[in-house]
Amino acid sequence: MSEIRVGQLVLRDVAAGFAFAGPAEIDVSQASLQALGGRVAAEPFKYFLNLRELEAVLSVDGISVAEVMALTPDLPAKASGQVNGRLPIRIDSGGLRLGSGWLELRPGVYAEVQFKASGLLTGGLAAGSPSYAVLQKIEAGLLKLKLTTLRLEVRPPDAPAGRSARLHLEGEPVDREVKAPVILDLNVNGPIERLLDLGLDSRVSFSGKQ
């Protein structure tokens, strides 16, 4: 199958191998597709026709960070790079739900982030502190950060109740004349799925605080 559109997602080169294991059970031995600039493959799973729900574990290879971020409207940052990872998913009448998994930077692929979020880094600093001016330029997007680490943990086992994801970023300004290492941990409280605008649901809003 060459292309399927699911909301905002465009799925290409969809391929699957399956067999009927019973009147209402399908064993999917392999499934893969191209999406978000990378490749997604599912580990073998069963699909029950009478339950109208699907559970699978996805292996992600080389997905574009920019395309993933584009799924979240009004995100105060732009980024480039690619991620690999492993994510369990469940799709049923309630929509998509992500299980415990992770995404992280693909080694060897350049990645950077440009914020547009006033107060994100300087919120807790005195205006006269030595780092204030540099951090202000970073959060205003005047200085981009070259990312050395990006890891998204979805539903980490050690997370407190209600926390669905933790994004860990480490980077330095692209400008080599500015040495300002930044480590950013972003905790998502509430269902992370609601931040992904797949074009299926618009009943969502989010707010942030340090």
């Binding site: 069963k46 994100l120 004349e177 941990d185 998502v188 509430g190 269902p191 009943r203 989010f206 942030g208």
Partner: protein, 71 residues
Amino acid sequence: MNRSSVFALAPALVLAAAFPLLGGCLNIKTQPIEVKPIHITVDVNVKVEKALDDFFGDLDKKSATIAKPQS
């Protein structure tokens, strides 16, 4: 122009003559701006309609691992 005024202008004339030579040798070094590493933690709170909240809340109460349906 008398002799004393020529001597008075001599330093200025020497500087003027040397300026083009100096210009070719200007070398300005800048020190990199260094800031101590900063660690920021930000909480993003996702708000959803109550019906959706209830749905995900119920799921969150279940096991963290996804249970396989009974065949």
